[in-house]
């Protein structure tokens, strides 16, 4: 039986790992390579690494750094940040990365997804959709939440699927770093909007929050930043990840809707 995925999401800023709150106030939490090694030991299901500088600065993906992370990573790795072309996506895959995540570029130029999928296969194309929700309506923002596209999140997900994406990641800007739980209404809405594998990011503050997501949406990916890098009320930096037994227990939550 397919298990739901629990995915640490690591943000790279100025070469270090950071954790943001509502896409602002980046707090330094450590070295990317050390984090990969630690999550290897914890047998994490998958790892997502997002370079939050590249798109905003119009920079290319840092291929050297990506290669170093990929060599170390013993679990599937998804990399995002600054990817603008099929050629760059291929190059990232050749470095030993399983999936390439796109956001602004794919939302502005949906045909880019088709070009990239043709090159590396749909299964390796991930679209990260950053969302703000106001009065029950979820719209898509790009460039680290600084540009409002005005597009509905569900519409963007549908279009990404039609263009050849293999996975959708929904990132709630409102919940980012708040550790107040996933936006379950948004998650349910997005589960209904796409038949692709879906990963929800933004808001997880406890394993119970992950369980609640699995109970609401079944087998989806539960991604989290703060939960896996902080410990305690004072947000002391301590990388952590659920044990095999805890994961098995969380997996049972998906049975609620099977």
């Amino acid at each position: 039986m397919l298990r739901p995925r629990i995915i640490p999401c690591l943000l790279v800023h100025k070469g270090g790992l950071v954790k943001t709150t509502r896409f602002a106030e980046p707090k330094y939490v450590g070295d990317p390579l050390n984090a990969v090694k630690l999550f290897n030991e914890k047998e994490a299901d998958e790892l997502m690494v997002l370079d939050i500088d590249a798109t905003r600065e119009g920079a290319l993906p840092d291929f050297t750094r990506i290669g170093r992370l990929a060599v170390e990573c013993r679990m599937p790795l998804c990399y995002g940040g600054g990817v603008q072309s099929a050629e760059q996506a291929s190059r990232i895959i050749a470095l030993g990365v399983e999936k390439v995540a796109l956001s602004a570029a794919a939302i502005e130029r949906p045909t880019l997804l088709r070009d990239i999928a043709r090159e590396i296969g749909s299964q390796s194309v991930v679209v990260v959709i950053d969302v703000r929700t106001r009065a029950g309506t979820s719209t898509v923002w790009t460039h680290n939440g600084t540009r409002d596209t005005g597009l509905l999140a569900s519409r963007v997900a549908e279009r990404a699927e039609a263009m050849g994406a293999g996975e959708i990641v929904i990132n709630s800007i409102d919940r980012d770093g708040t550790m107040t739980g996933y936006d379950l209404a948004l998650a349910r809405q997005m589960r209904a909007a796409t038949t692709l594998p879906l990963t929800i990011l933004g808001g997880a503050g406890s394993l119970a929050d992950i369980g609640a997501l699995f109970s609401a949406c079944g087998v989806v990916g539960a991604a989290a930043g703060s939960l896996f890098v902080f410990k305690g009320t004072y947000r002391a930096v301590l990388l952590n990840y659920p044990s095999a037994a805890q994961k098995d227990e969380l997996g049972q939550c998906t049975l609620a809707i099977r």
Partner: protein
Amino acid sequence: MITIIDYGLGNVRAFLNLYKRLNIPVRTARTAEELEGSERVILPGVGAFDHAMELLDASGMRATLDRLVRAERVPVLGICVGMQMLAERSNEGERAGLAYIPGEVRRFTPPADLPLPLPHMGWNDARPVAGHPLFAQLEQLPRFYFLHSYYFACERADDVAAEADYGRTFACAVSAGNVHGVQFHPEKSHRWGERLLQNFASA
């Protein structure tokens, strides 16, 4: 010595890294000359079936691989689309497969009452055939990372080395003589995958 066929698809680096960590000699082959004399061969693969077959043909290694596998009985392990290439054909494309194991590759068709997302992505349990050497020293239900929308439908039940469930039961590993294939990604499946690749190195 393990040889990884590098024809432009699949995570060649991940295999190299893993075998180096295990202190098992490993190399890549990009040409027929480099493939010549291989003792064990890994055929990785991702993406579309036709594209993979095209690239393998274009690499110039196809004839040598055929001879090594069919005449010299060199052990080969296909990974993901590399496993699907071992079949005679795939519903995903027009091209013929390597036809090392009888069967065809089919797309998952989730039943209407159970709308499963495709691709089948994530960690799933494998049920290996009892005593199969590829799964030696692994627990009864080892787990592996999957990422695919098509599966290998074997013609002979005896060629199935392990099964998994995703809406239906399917062969997640096949094995016939010196030819083996796994649908999942052992190179990204922590200790379970590491053990399987180690087993292949000594099988």
